[in-house]
Symmetry: C2
Subunit: 447 residues, 2 copies
Amino acid sequence: MTERVLVNQLQARADGPVSVSGWVETVRDQKKVQFVILRDETGAVQLVNPATRELEEGADAAAQAAHALTTTISELTHGTFLTVHGELKHDERVKLGGVEIKIGTLDIAAAALPETPIAADSGLDKRMDWRFLDLRQRRNNLLFRVQTTLEHAMRTFWIERDYIEVHSPKLMASASESNAELFSLEYFGDQTAYLAQSPQFYKQMAQAAGFGKIFEIAPAFRADPSFTSRHATEFTSIDAEISWIDSHEDVARMQEELLQVAFQAVKDKHGDEIEELFGIEVQVPQIPFPRIPLAEARRIVAERGYEIPRTDGDLDPEGERQISAHVEETYGHQFVFITDYHPEIRAFYHMRDPETGLTKSYDLLFKGVEITTGAQREHRVDVLVEQAKEKGLDLEHLEFYFDFFRYGAPPHGGFGMGLARVLMLLLGESSIREVTYLFRGPTRLAP
Amino acid sequence: MTERVLVNQLQARADGPVSVSGWVETVRDQKKVQFVILRDETGAVQLVNPATRELEEGADAAAQAAHALTTTISELTHGTFLTVHGELKHDERVKLGGVEIKIGTLDIAAAALPETPIAADSGLDKRMDWRFLDLRQRRNNLLFRVQTTLEHAMRTFWIERDYIEVHSPKLMASASESNAELFSLEYFGDQTAYLAQSPQFYKQMAQAAGFGKIFEIAPAFRADPSFTSRHATEFTSIDAEISWIDSHEDVARMQEELLQVAFQAVKDKHGDEIEELFGIEVQVPQIPFPRIPLAEARRIVAERGYEIPRTDGDLDPEGERQISAHVEETYGHQFVFITDYHPEIRAFYHMRDPETGLTKSYDLLFKGVEITTGAQREHRVDVLVEQAKEKGLDLEHLEFYFDFFRYGAPPHGGFGMGLARVLMLLLGESSIREVTYLFRGPTRLAP
């Protein structure tokens, strides 16, 4: 590599020759002096060049070069990637980091077309059309650094606790959750394959395989025709599953500790910059998170004056916001586990409490939005088959899944969590589209 | 959670009450004493119970319980998951770890059907049908721990060097590499989506977005009808891409350092166990890895007496084995970079050396098998379009990709590496099917 210096290393560096690479953010082409703001993945720096506007006849090579450089800078387009070799100089008067670089030579790697199709304030859909330009914004760059830190903290948490990472297949012969919203494809002529809606069945398989504790962060697919700020047809799912639990409480305890550790890592590494660019103070959650049984949550929401229109006994999005507002006001907490869901509104594989008849499961809400469903799973195959039958499911297509439990299985449970939802809420963004590298929705398959 | 103790913690624990959970590996039901070997994700332990075969009339509760326990143990099936509360006792005579547990109570979580459909020596296809049972083998459990360590070491290497982790979409409107071997699906009626064959275009997009250095570990899909030991229709691809390189050499240097660090982590954590269960000594590769231009590699292979039947100038699998054997004999090295491929046998986006006309790319061979293609990419859009045209590609469908380079882009390059191939070779396995959690091939879509 060239001896490239990153912009965030310039302040600590002594005056002298230096080489930086990045893209042109702005050019101020004044008569006597030219300024270029060059940005790289770590920051922005001011480049300066005393303009040589006129070339006298018989000018020497140096004068010719100076004139050529001035012309090159005058013609620089926004977004052009280039490398500058020059002289670094500390100067308190320079607002941008207190340094500037006097340009010696300038090498253009790839010049940008003159008309940039979007600006920072373009509409979301337009920005998504040109996502690679949109991602050059500082806040978007930060966003994916936050994502990186968040995920690495979670994986490290698990690996320190001897979890195994699995890569479960995304091509399946049957539906993993339900037959609705399933992408199907022709598989070598006579077979039909489906895209995994979640790693649910396969992470349970790892429990029957004696893996003990596992995690996976991977894409999941839902042919979901909805256009809300929280849904995508392809999303990154954060999944964990653990054996030998007593109830979903063991899962919840693992998850709250995980989130505490991960948020702490984000705050430590990016807290100041998040505050600067997103206006959000990252709150590291206290554990334990509050827990509220669903029936009580509904009572509280009703007492706050909101009547949930759903008749199935679940919360709706406004109900989720209301109960989270209550928790924030009462406990000063941004998270809440809602527990004790009726089997009718839960998947067939959720274990039921023999005393209450309710499922041993939870939803986790963060700032009023559901980010997770967790549960103890039913590992007794006779009960499991009975519950599937009760839901009217196609038992034949579930046989491969039931098999997982016919040769022994431990009590187990886990959760699935949407990465984009966590990021959206953590950074106070309005849609998962803003926090997804390349969003996929019913009318969005490109770029 | 119950106060479950993992089997590998028993040796260090004092004699006394203890609770362990796992699955039944064997039962020796002798007349006077019963032995159960219980395995969990960390090891195996011997459970012992003095048999109470007869129950006298008027026997007390304790005698009844003892008789019931004896019966339960006699009826235990292989694979049954259970928890035992008992008394831990250190005893040098016990071969298995020098400890045993006298059973107090025994709780069956889920009893296994009596006939286990596979044994450790069953054929590969049969074992894949019952993969969840196959995975209970110690070597398979270790295999996925090795995978976990390998990946975590790689991610940590990158994150310590400020790489951004991306999740590129697996649903695309166009092919990412070629139109061959592409899975397509109906996307909301009137659209066609394709499954990503690699994250190639989208990791390059991150370079135009100014991300600098990125990585991704994610599934990739190829509708590849081949049945070799090295191919799958779905596989885990390890990808990295970096900006401001001078040539593919910068990519190769990053990759060899990455592999050295990752192999060291595997050796440190699992070296002894790999030697015990796979009979393989993990060799941490020295850097730099040897580099051999393709033309020279072909000469060497020919001198060894092997005539490559391919006429396109590339190596074939036997040629790869031959050149690797040469490198092993000459340099004692298991890795070799083959460089300087002709553009005809490389993707259109590989940058070409203006002097030689050859691509600035490499293949990395490990123990005679290709595990990676790496290259500097062509970032100058006019040259890129020309190269695509020369290959006879459908330019219209590549417009979205060309756009990435029209608004400025840095010189960049990267590599893609197949996780399963690395694991297969590292552990001396004969097929990627053995090292994939759930293999997917033309006739394999289940379980």
